[in-house]
Every structure is written in structure tokens, then in C-alpha cells.
């Protein structure tokens, strides 16, 4: 054994092997794959899932729903918005006009209504009686004079109107008065007539006011 050399030793597998081991192995592997049936496989969920997944989902969903409730979003319909603004403009203009037109009437009707309904206070009644007394005294004092003056005023005022509308026709001087005037003038001398002529302007002026 002193001359033992490992290099010279024959390389051998000394372990026992089952007969046709490799052939059967190949067949087994191939058959396993070929006979693979999807239906026989377990239906498993193999993905990782975060902790409290469904709790978080529910919380977030409820948050979103409540936010929607608190702040509802109104979609602006431009057609409706334009129509509404036009209606507002025309409506306010109409109301303003109708109010200004009927303002005077309203006040009078209001006062009438107030007279009809509201009972008068004692002080108001006293003031009204005093006022009516004073006006009646004034009327009594002024009745005759006023009537005359009013009539005069009325006639005076009426005359120029007549003048304006109808030109006043000058009455022709009667022949009798004309003859009297010539007689009267004949009685004056020439120098007296010249003196009268000098003062004629004043006379005419004075005639107007007499």
C-alpha cells in the first residue's frame, strides 16, 4: 500500500441506484406539469394587505360622504342664471315705475284710509275746531268786500282776455256829440287852440287814467 497513488485510482460511483431512476424521474416531472389542472389548485389570495385596510376604507368613504352633505355643489346653469337676472332687472324696474306713479294716489288713499279708520285724538279735534272757527270768522269778515273785490278782479282780469281774443271795436262818435264838439271848439280863438294843442299830450295821458 506504500505505492498507493490517488491519481491512478479509478473514479467510480459505488452507491446503489434504483433501476431506471432517471427515466422514471423525467416521466414524473413531465406528467406533473402535463397533468396540471387549474381547477384543482387552491384559490388563494397571495397579495400583501395593509393593516386595518377595511376600517380605513370605511372611514374615508364616510368622510367623503359627509363632506358632500355639508358642502353641496350647485351646478350653475347659465341659461337659468341669465333668465333669472333678466327677470330681476325687469321686475325691479316695473316695480319702481309703478311705485313712483301711484305714490301720490297712495298717500291720498292712505290719508283717507287713516281718516276712516284711525280714531282722532283729543288734541287733533281741538286743533281742527279752532282752525274752522278762525276760518269762519275770516270768511264772515271778508264775505261782502271779497265778493265785490273778487268780482272786480274777475272783471278786470277778464277784460284783457277779451282784448286779446276779440279786438275791441271802437264805437263811432255820435253826430250830436260831434256837433257839440265843433261848437265848443269854434268858441276858442286860434291862440287858445294852439295853447290847448301844446298840452294835448298831457291830456291824453290824463284821459287814460280818468
Amino acid at each position: 500500500m506504500k505505492d498507493f497513488d490517488l491519481k491512478k485510482l479509478e473514479r467510480k460511483n459505488i452507491y446503489k441506484l434504483p433501476e431506471n431512476m432517471f427515466e422514471s424521474m423525467q416521466e414524473r416531472v413531465l406528467s406533473e406539469v402535463n397533468d396540471f389542472d387549474l381547477e384543482k389548485l387552491d384559490r388563494k389570495n397571495i397579495y400583501k394587505v395593509s393593516d386595518h385596510l377595511f376600517e380605513n376604507v370605511q372611514q374615508n368613504v364616510m368622510k367623503e360622504i359627509n363632506a358632500d352633505k355639508k358642502a353641496p355643489i350647485f351646478k350653475l346653469n347659465w341659461g337659468y342664471a341669465a333668465a333669472a337676472s333678466l327677470a330681476l332687472i325687469f321686475g325691479s324696474t316695473f316695480l319702481y315705475n309703478s311705485y313712483s306713479d301711484s305714490n301720490g294716489n297712495q298717500t291720498s288713499t292712505q290719508s283717507l284710509a287713516s281718516n276712516d279708520t284711525a280714531p282722532k285724538k283729543e288734541s287733533e279735534i281741538a286743533y281742527e275746531t279752532l282752525k274752522s272757527d278762525l276760518t269762519s270768522v275770516e270768511n264772515n269778515d271778508q264775505t261782502n268786500d271779497d265778493q265785490q273785490t273778487n268780482q272786480q278782479i274777475k272783471t278786470v282780469a277778464y277784460v284783457p282776455e277779451k282784448k286779446e281774443t276779440k279786438p275791441q271795436t271802437v264805437k263811432p262818435v255820435s253826430k250830436k256829440t260831434e256837433a257839440q264838439m265843433t261848437e265848443y271848439l269854434d268858441s276858442f280863438s286860434n291862440s287858445e287852440i294852439a295853447e290847448l294843442a301844446n298840452n294835448s299830450t298831457q291830456d291824453v295821458y290824463l284821459d287814460l287814467y280818468n
Binding site: V29, R43, I46, S50, F54, Q58, V61
Partner: protein
């Protein structure tokens, strides 16, 4: 479940009890809807947001719910639409040179439990390799065991088309697993 659905509907229809109704609705359907959304979207945070949005939409639009359909069908429809919207947003946001299918499969790997079986991971990756319609049909039939008639109301497809889609989806998944699992 049917009696519970009826109760939820009654609560939701009355404005005074609507808040209680939405709580009952969430208690009843949050788990089923979450996993439906999660299988489509894969990402956990995005799936949570989508579930919230689904319930909010259900609350806001409950007047549109017609009693002639099942409540869960209506909810699945909202959840599916919301999920597809999120997926489309994701696809638009991602880089143009990245394959969307590859992106989703990477997302599967990133989101699975550490102790998940390998075959299950392959199954999820295989689902993500499917076209959108086949994916939806397969998931609702395979995981939620929904009848084809109800699925047709959710995705607006005929029962015949749904059966064909499911058959093709299953075939593709099995092929995917055979190809990839032994490597």
C-alpha cells in the same frame, strides 16, 4: 344574502337611513370587491383607493340602481369600471419602452406574501399575461364563481362569448405555467 341585500337596498333608498345603508353595504361587500379590484390592479394602495371610489360612486348614484338586477352585479360593474380606468391611467403614465405585461408581472412579484407558493405566483403572473376581457372573465368565474349570466351583465358580453373567453383564458394559463414552472 338575498334578504340582506333587500335590507341594504331599503336603507339606501331612504335619505334618512342612507348612511346606515352604505355602512351595511360596505360590511357586506368590501372583501369580495377588494379582492376583485386587487387582482385587476395588483398594487395595494391603488386598489384601496379604487375600492373607496367604488363605494362613493355607489352611494352617489344609488338612484340609478334598478331592482331587476342583483346588488352585487351592480357593485361589481362599478368596481370593474373603476379598476379598468386606474389600469389605463397606469399604462399611460408608465414609460413607453416598458412592456405593460412585463410591468404587471413585476408588480405581482413585488406585492406577494413572502410565504406564497410558487405555483400561485405563477398563476397570478399568467393571469396578467391575458388580454383584458379574458382576464376579467377568468377572474370573476374562477375566483368569485359568478354565473355567466351575471358576468354578462357586468362586462356587457354575451354568455357564449364569455364561455369561449373563459376557455381560452384557462388554456393560456395552463400553457404559461407548463412553460415557466419547470424552468
Amino acid at each position: 344574502m338575498k334578504i340582506k341585500d333587500a335590507e341594504i337596498i331599503t336603507l339606501m333608498q331612504d335619505p334618512r337611513t342612507r348612511e346606515r345603508g352604505v355602512r351595511a353595504l360596505m360590511d357586506a361587500y368590501q372583501s369580495r370587491l377588494y379582492w376583485h379590484i386587487r387582482r385587476i390592479i395588483v398594487d395595494g394602495d391603488l386598489a384601496q383607493d379604487t375600492l373607496q371610489e367604488t363605494f362613493i360612486k355607489a352611494y352617489q348614484n344609488f338612484h340609478q340602481f334598478k331592482n331587476d338586477s342583483q346588488l352585487y352585479t351592480w357593485l361589481y360593474r362599478i368596481a370593474t369600471n373603476e379598476s379598468l380606468q386606474q389600469i389605463n391611467k397606469l399604462k399611460r403614465m408608465q414609460k413607453t419602452d416598458e412592456d405593460p405585461e412585463y410591468y404587471m408581472q413585476n408588480l405581482v412579484a413585488d406585492n406577494t406574501h413572502s410565504d406564497a407558493e410558487e405555483i400561485q405566483i405563477f398563476l397570478q403572473k399568467a393571469i396578467q399575461s391575458l388580454p383584458e376581457k379574458q382576464k376579467l372573465v377568468f377572474m370573476m368565474r374562477y375566483y368569485d364563481d359568478l354565473p355567466y349570466e351575471e358576468i354578462s351583465k357586468i362586462v356587457d358580453m354575451s354568455v357564449g362569448t364569455l364561455k369561449t373567453n373563459y376557455h381560452y383564458a384557462k388554456q393560456k394559463i395552463e400553457e404559461y405555467i407548463k412553460e415557466n414552472y419547470e424552468k
